[in-house]
Subunit: 196 residues, 2 copies
């Protein structure tokens, strides 16, 4: 038989996967603890043992999951050279992510809604976004004019989220070319100077 550690690790992963699916499908509040456990082929007792309830599962997801995408983008970015290549890389990873088959935006939305009324979750989310902003700032620092205090991070991350939201409403309304053009516009506008 498997060792206890392996056993526990597998149960944990099963619960996380099941929760990610259900949260994306039905929302956090729409997913019962029992439903998560059932999809993971475990019982609610396991959830209360591993995490401390539904909220704990959410936080665990929050910790581990988006980091993966950030890492993936970071790795790919190193190989890109031109601005448009970089933007295309970012956009591709957002619009067609390597893992989670598009569930991420629904999950991200859930986290947002949840964070809007939960201080702990809000802190988590804020930290994550600030880290993302810094990453973007660093990636584009000095691309055009390094003297200007960078404001590209929030604008670019915001545009990415907004574009993906619009794409969910109508996939045809957001073409790759259009997205990259918009991203380029934002990068240039927020790095070459703040205003007239």
């Amino acid at each position: 038989m498997a060792t206890q550690g392996e056993r526990r690790a597998e149960t944990r992963q099963r619960l996380l996967d099941a929760a990610a699916e259900l949260f994306a499908e039905r929302g956090v509040e729409g997913s019962s603890v029992d439903a998560i456990a059932e999809r993971a082929e475990r019982t609610s007792g396991a959830i209360y043992d591993h995490f401390e309830g539904k909220e704990g599962v959410l936080f665990a997801l929050l910790e581990g999951w988006v980091d993966d995408v950030a890492v993936a983008i970071g790795a790919e970015l190193a190989t890109a050279t031109s601005l448009d290549e970089r933007l295309a890389t970012i956009w591709r990873n957002v619009s067609d992510p390597p893992t989670g088959d598009g569930r991420w935006i629904a999950l991200e939305h859930e986290l947002w809604s949840y964070a809007a009324r939960n201080a702990d979750a809000r802190d988590h989310l804020a930290r994550r976004y600030r880290a993302a902003w810094d990453g973007v700032d660093e990636a584009f620092a000095g691309w055009d004019d390094p003297r200007v205090p960078s404001a590209v991070g929030p604008a670019l991350i915001g545009l990415l989220l907004g574009l993906e939201m619009m794409r969910r409403v109508d996939p045809n309304a957001v073409t790759d070319d259009m997205a990259i053009a918009a991203l380029r516009g934002v990068v240039i506008a927020t790095t070459t100077g703040v205003h007239a």
Copy 2:
């Protein structure tokens, strides 16, 4: 005493206001019918008489509410002349709307999450966004190059939503100047031509 029509109209408005507050505070699923009724100083019976349950309240909010902002922006836009003036007008109405004191983004988020798992709500939302896109397209049509099929609508609306989301995480991260610069970048990038 007030006429029956007036009485009914006031109850309806009370219920809508209470629901908008609660949905923004606790989410749609987190707000019980009784809680909505209680905040409106009515009972759940009134809700089932006016609308046909919680979902009906949501749809009623969806119908009547965002239109107001669109109308307000439309009216103000008529007086603006330069591109930056127009963008400033739009951004001001988004970041500091005339009604609802900033609840709108939370409510919008709720609608999104809800629409993600409800076909009817999804249709509502899609129609609204398409109307918004068309409005933007019309407002900026021919600003630079009328021959290009317009794609500014989804990009600009998306950026507005994304910027507001970032601003909720950290108000200082999104200055007005930065927002307008980003908006200008997107407008120019998506109207002057699609790509290289």
